[in-house]
Symmetry: C2
Subunit: 478 residues, 2 copies
């Protein structure tokens, strides 16, 4: 009567295969510099090597890993290579991978407090830890009026902030006929594209997003912001949201938070701070000044998955007033009702973000903080900045290259003096070799090379080697 057939992997088989996978990953990190950093495959190559239909009968883990090695690995761009200097990083670490493994193994879904109290309460505690590490004002802690929550990405955090801002300004939830095309949001022309995307998603409309001019350092100009808000108010519009960047994506420009914050207070706008990569630096006392002015903000987000050794995805989103966030996003259907929720004594984090279901992400963050300690995290952040500043010195003392924007931390924006075509050719030639990988931006029509020094295992030798490659290649293609 009882069925005995079973296609599942037994705990014993998992034990064996899991240890092989751990060895595979350890081997990968030991050999990671042997791979070309940027994948060298052509579009369609990987797909063409994969069967067109799913297997009818199951295959062994050995067969699968053969395909991982032969088919997939050539199509990997190695984000964890110490020679990866592209975009913003997504730096991982051993303790993070193990915390994530534990999360996958436990397989809990923490949408409600009741569906795994530890998933909610560890997150609350870990984000309060971070709030203290960042010296955030008291209102951003769960023990006060606000608190933090883990989101997948800074894009989702920004969207969430916009929705809460809309709620606070318009009582949207009780006034639910949709947006009326009068809400206006403000960013600088260098703010991350996710804000524009979120403004479109939220139905605010791209035409209601103002791009405020920047100064010579590519930071938002508060007087222009003030003037724009004033003009919109006079036109009968409803300004509601400003996003200030602590480190823009192009050049790591720092918007002036205290000035922007005062303007937001004056006009009662929601101030969101997007510190996706550079926010991590604020855990070092010497860089805490970067978020001075945060006491005037309504929300703040940064990504431990960028520069804090916590593998993707892990964005930390803090609000000063959680009640407006919960009012914005809470819907309680019958099948989710439970005593704990009704008691009001718990957080149900699904009311703090877009999604309902949620993974136990705080485990990896907690593993990282405990493994490194605040001391270890600070050490490596400062070391990355030191290495980036070495590069700044080399660029400045070079006859051929020059700095294009200030480098307050770990992102260096520079260019060869020979102009856009040369720089583009230089970048592409180097990336094609696979020896290192970096990317570009365009500032005022100028093609700019970007090097972000923040991969977990990048050390001085890698940065020296990168600079040598850049110089050598520039000579070769000259």
């Amino acid at each position: 009567m009882e069925s005995t057939k079973n296609y599942h992997m037994s705990p014993q088989e998992f034990r064996e295969q899991g240890k092989k996978m751990i060895d595979w990953i350890a081997d990968y990190y030991e050999n990671i510099e042997k791979y070309p950093v940027l994948s060298q495959v052509n579009p369609g190559e990987i797909k063409a090597s994969l069967p067109q239909t799913a297997p009818l009968t199951g295959e062994s883990m050995e067969q699968i890993m053969v395909d991982v090695n032969s088919i997939l690995m050539p199509g990997i761009t190695h984000w964890q290579s110490p020679n990866f200097f592209a975009y913003f990083p997504a730096n991982a670490s051993g303790p993070s991978i193990l915390g994530d493994l534990l999360s996958s193994g436990l397989g809990v879904q923490g949408m409600l407090w009741a569906t795994s109290p530890a998933c909610t309460e560890l997150e609350t505690r870990a984000l309060d830890w971070l709030a203290d590490m960042l010296q955030l004002p008291e209102q951003f802690k769960s023990t006060s009026s606000g608190g933090g929550v883990i989101q997948d990405t800074a894009s989702s955090a920004a969207l969430t902030a916009i929705l809460a801002a809309r709620e606070r300004k318009t009582n949207y939830t009780t006034n639910e006929n949709g947006c009326d095309g009068k809400l206006v949001a403000y960013v600088s022309g260098h703010t991350h594209s996710s804000i524009e995307k979120a403004i479109k998603i939220a139905g605010i409309g791209k035409n209601n997003l103002r791009l405020i001019g920047a100064d010579a350092n590519l930071a938002m100009q508060p007087d222009l912001l003030d003037a724009a808000i004033d003009a919109d108010l006079k036109a009968g519009l409803i300004p509601f949201f400003v996003c200030a960047s602590v480190g823009t994506t192009s050049t790591n420009a720092m918007d002036p938070l205290p000035e922007i914050g005062l303007i937001c207070r004056k006009y009662e706008l929601w101030m969101h701070i997007d510190a996706a990569m550079s926010g991590t630096a604020a855990i070092c006392p010497e860089y805490r000044y970067l978020i001075n002015g945060i006491e005037l903000a309504d929300s703040f987000s940064f990504n431990p998955h960028k520069w804090m050794f916590t593998n993707f995805d892990c964005n930390c989103f803090f609000v000063a007033d959680r009640s407006v966030l919960i009012k914005t996003l809470s819907i309680l259907p019958e099948y989710l009702k439970n005593q704990a929720t009704e008691s009001g004594a718990v957080f149900d984090y699904r009311d703090w973000h877009i999604q309902l279901g949620r993974r136990f992400r705080s485990l990896k963050l907690w593993f990282v903080i405990r493994h490194y300690g605040t001391e270890g995290l600070r050490y490596h952040i400062k070391e990355h900045v030191r290495l980036a500043q070495l590069l700044v010195d080399w660029v400045k003392s070079s006859d051929e290259f020059e700095m294009v924007a200030p480098a307050p931390l770990n992102l260096v924006c520079f260019a060869h003096k020979k102009g856009n075509d040369f720089n583009k050719k230089l970048l592409e030639s180097i990336n094609k070799t696979g020896k290192m990988y970096f990317t570009h931006t365009v500032i005022d029509g100028r093609y700019v090379l970007r090097m972000c020094v923040s991969q977990t295992n990048t050390n001085e030798q890698h940065v020296r080697q990168a600079w040598k490659i850049i110089q050598d290649t520039a000579s070769e293609i000259d």
Copy 2:
């Protein structure tokens, strides 16, 4: 000159600690039935056991695991226990955990094709596999006009569908002054709450969401839908979106797709199908009929993280016309420009969802499909249905209990005949014992017990035991 200090976990240490973690997880699965399924802690208990501040100096993995065992484990609700029958499941499996581990280890961020071609192309292939396994119409495949993409949850997929629908109806991207309060969406009163949340997020406004009446089986009534759309059109509104459910959350009710689809075609509305849990069943030829009518749909989503042994989070979202989706969500700032994107020969999946960054989620899905084969997946789906139908038989032949809604698959909605208070007491008494965990819903004022039979390792013995516990407890509290 070269810095030698280093707080990182070495590959060798990772090797050792990783194997211990694998053993921990294997032990966990071997002993999972010894834990109370529903965590028995009180609000605040876990948090109070965690230090109030982050450690200054790093701690060993051993210390961390001591706290996992002593502090966190009592706060876990065991979603992977074979005695978990609550909500919809989030069933994991060995191959999925290993695929996810590989994803964490590789640490690639697949926002663009170029940032790891394998991350994009494996996903494209795996979702085409799934399209075939589900016998989706050709237009849902990447080789035709559409294709699939992995999203985190069905909530995000629904929001994405709504945004694409808005785009198609209003040319929102080129007509960007925000929504005008005239767009109207339609669901049944039993549709998942995520649609209401998404409608609010997208600025459509809750008042512009129509709840269409359901029939005796709790399925949407097409004639009422047609009448509502007609009335809204006559009132000068703009109907644009319908969500049909293949398996509502409360009772697994099946909305009539062919009829709803024809109405959507008639009025040119976007038809989204939310098949979050039950969609998986359609990989079995005998249950494919559940998605008949999908040829009329614009988008379809289901969660391998619910009933297909792929650990959270993994939603598969298919569209018939990817061009409208990409038009809706694409923003290309300079720092993301690259040759592959400009060639148009590749997919950049960040244009298919809300977030920019993305994890290599297709690995775990691919591991699952290859490990089980279509055959193995079908076997276990059918076995879960068989077990649920045993329970249906027992309820039907019981004098004390009765079925409250049809049970087409693996969700059984039933109630003791003694009324709401008794059923509520019964549920809470049983869940408190920790021997099993199930949840409730309310249908037309009636408190209903829900048992979803779909945890990976649930077999006949667990379902028999659950039914015995329910009967015994009903007698005891009588």
